[in-house]
Amino acid sequence: MQKFTSVTGIAVPLQRSNIDTDQIIPAVFLKRVTKTGFEDALFHGWRQDPEFVLNREPFTQGTVLVAGPDFGTGSSREHAVWALRDYGFQVVLSSRFGDIFKGNCGKQGLLAAQLSEKDIETIWLIIDEQPGVEVTVDLIAKTVTAGKSGFAFEIDEYTRWRLLEGLDDIGLTLRDEARITEFEAKRESWRPKTLPAR
């Protein structure tokens, strides 16, 4: 995973609430066995509409998505994160995220930054007044700058640290392998075993 410090780019307003991962990427695209190449699948249903924000300039070049509350609810499909990333998004701003989606973002270097609903609406207004406005999302300072306005965002410290350092989770966990082995030695024999098959 690449280190993430800050991003400056065009902000894309997505003024809807409850954007579930079925909308971000419909199930039909989950049949692929690769981890890249999902850019065409992003918001596939909505992109059929020429008026959809991603079909309008200057938003086709966006890298920061500014979405309504409860973004990324529903299915656990990490493909939603891959599709956003493959399309070119590096940051999603929302006032609330689906838990699993938020966790998946942290594993893939996509920043899910949480702002108040009021701040999201203010950013929408700023984009409305200056379409194509560049925003800067700074993970070190935990701030979003849009035009002359600045906003603070929230992210859990562990995810922030891992993004800043670009660290691989499995590698981190395996530093504790001795503790895992120790734990396994104490597990009770009644606990489930899939093998041998019965």
């Binding site: 838990d99 562990y158 009644w190």
Partner: protein
């Protein structure tokens, strides 16, 4: 032990702590059971291969094929090439890494969340994960079970652990007695309508109260299954005699001394008196009616006896905008009685409602009747074993005589990854869990319902409950005032 009173969720969590997090780092939690399917695993196995890592605990891992599998002609090669490739990829990965796999045609094949409990692998006090958000289903046994993304699937395959942040706890207490015709599905739809699709975010839900205790394991699984639709990663029910009776004797359930040890431990799991939840929600089972969704998220629901709501009636601006969009997508007008809504299709299946008890409930309503003209009715058992069990009871014959389709096991039209999909504009009463735009097929419109409502709707062609049928096996009764009085006492 004079420790502070704890909740069920806290106990299970603490018993799986490998490393306690410090200074903002997450806890490292041990995973007892990892369920794998074809959709969210290929990239995870790729990751292992690239890093040269084995699966750490093959004996805690099991795979099945469910999301992509056809529910007709399962003896033929899968027609859709990308689906076939994905399933073949799982077979190759399982063979290469040594993972136990139940493929199409195997008696243990089926929806991953039906297979785990059916094999007796799902049990109280364990941690269960799967690359599927409806893993919350297994919480019905008093397990801590939640869905994970593909990166986490790889993490569990490699380490049998997950770094996880602590959670908050929410008690959802449902007291009283459900009237005949009202089911677990109606409870959970009502709960989600009450707390919203984001209401459970950051929480583990514990379902409690006399109405929950009275439910079968199947009913409890239906409720925990849809915890994710309230935004919660996990839902749990404390284990009790109902749990033990379901589990005992299943293929992988503990035996002999192990069983006794397990029960002794499981008996310690229910939430202690005096334990404090971070949030509490109450629901009255006595007055609950069959419930149905009108919109495009599972929180947009009402009692079947009500009408499509007016978006203007929502105080919150986002809720109002979402309702307007939903009515447009669903092609519904505010004020239309829910029971006036005609459907084109009925889907009876999914990890929410495809177990044997669900099929029995559906069959009990349709038996001896024929479906409404022009309505397509599809019945999809949750697993090959459920299908065989249902056939032994003659349920397949009842379904076929009714004019419905009797299919092979899989996720099917719940998410339309296989050919079982709605056509654009088609409207479906579905026992599944998500009414998102396009979920059951592009342009398809979904109303989430219980198996009983699905059956009555298939008979009448309009959204209906068994209470609406002539000569109903389940007529409407008054709310149970006796039980209500007991709650107040």
């Amino acid at each position: 032990m004079n420790s502070t009173p704890k909740t069920l969720a806290e106990k299970v969590w603490e018993d799986h702590l490998v490393v306690k997090g410090e200074n903002g780092t997450p806890d490292l939690i041990y995973i007892d059971l990892h369920l794998v399917h074809e959709v969210t695993s290929p990239q995870a196995f790729d990751g292992l291969r690239q890093a040269g890592r084995p699966v750490r605990r093959l004996d805690l891992t099991i795979a099945t094929e469910d999301h992509n599998t056809p529910t007709l002609a399962i003896d033929k090669p899968i027609a859709d090439l990308t689906s076939r490739t994905q399933i073949q990829t799982l077979r190759n990965n399982a063979a290469e890494f040594g993972v136990r796999l139940h493929s199409l045609g195997d008696i243990e094949q089926g929806i991953v969340h039906v297979v785990g409990p059916q094999l007796g692998l799902t049990m109280p006090g364990i941690t269960v994960v799967c690359g599927d958000s409806h893993t919350s289903t297994h919480g019905a046994f008093g397990a801590m079970a939640f869905g994970i993304g593909t990166s986490e699937v790889e993490h569990v395959l490699a380490t049998q652990t997950l770094p996880l942040n602590a959670f908050k706890t929410m008690a959802i207490t449902v007291e009283g007695t459900l009237r005949p015709g009202v089911t677990a599905k109606d409870i959970i739809l009502a709960v989600i309508a009450q707390i919203g699709t984001g209401g459970g975010q950051g929480y583990v839900l514990e379902f409690r109260g006399s109405a929950i205790r009275a439910l079968s394991m199947e009913g409890r699984m239906t409720i925990c299954n849809m915890s994710i639709e309230a935004g919660a990663r996990a839902g749990m029910v404390a284990p009790d005699e109902t749990t033990y009776a379901y589990l005992k004797g299943r293929a992988h359930a503990p035996e002999g001394r192990d069983w006794d040890d397990a029960v002794a431990y499981w008996d310690t799991l229910p939430t202690d008196d005096g334990a404090v939840f971070d949030a509490e929600v109450f629901l009255d089972a006595n007055t609950l009616e069959p419930f149905v969704t009108w919109g495009t998220n599972p929180g947009q629901g009402v009692s079947l006896s009500e009408s499509v709501p007016d978006p203007a009636a929502f105080d919150d601006v986002n809720d109002r905008a979402a309702a307007e969009r939903a009515l447009q997508y669903m092609d519904l007008d505010a004020g239309t009685p829910m029971k006036d809504i005609r459907v084109d299709a009925v889907f009876m299946g999914s990890c929410t409602n495809s177990r044997i008890e669900d099929l029995r409930a559906f069959a009990s309503i349709i038996e001896g009747r024929t479906k409404a003209d022009g309505v397509r009715v599809m019945v999809v058992p949750g697993s090959a074993r459920v299908r065989i069990e249902a056939e032994a009871e003659g349920i397949d014959k009842i379904v076929l005589a009714f004019g419905a389709e009797w299919r092979f096991a899989g996720c099917s039209m719940c998410l339309g990854m296989n050919p079982d999909q709605l056509a654009p504009g088609e409207r479906c009463a579905s026992t599944s869990n998500r009414n998102f735009e396009g979920r059951q097929g592009k342009g398809g419109r979904t109303h989430l319902v219980s198996p009983l409502v699905a059956a009555a709707t298939a008979i009448r062609g309009t959204l209906s409950s068994p209470w609406d049928l002539e000569n109903s096996p389940v007529p409407q009764s008054d709310p149970t005032t006796q039980a209500a009085a007991k709650v107040g006492a």
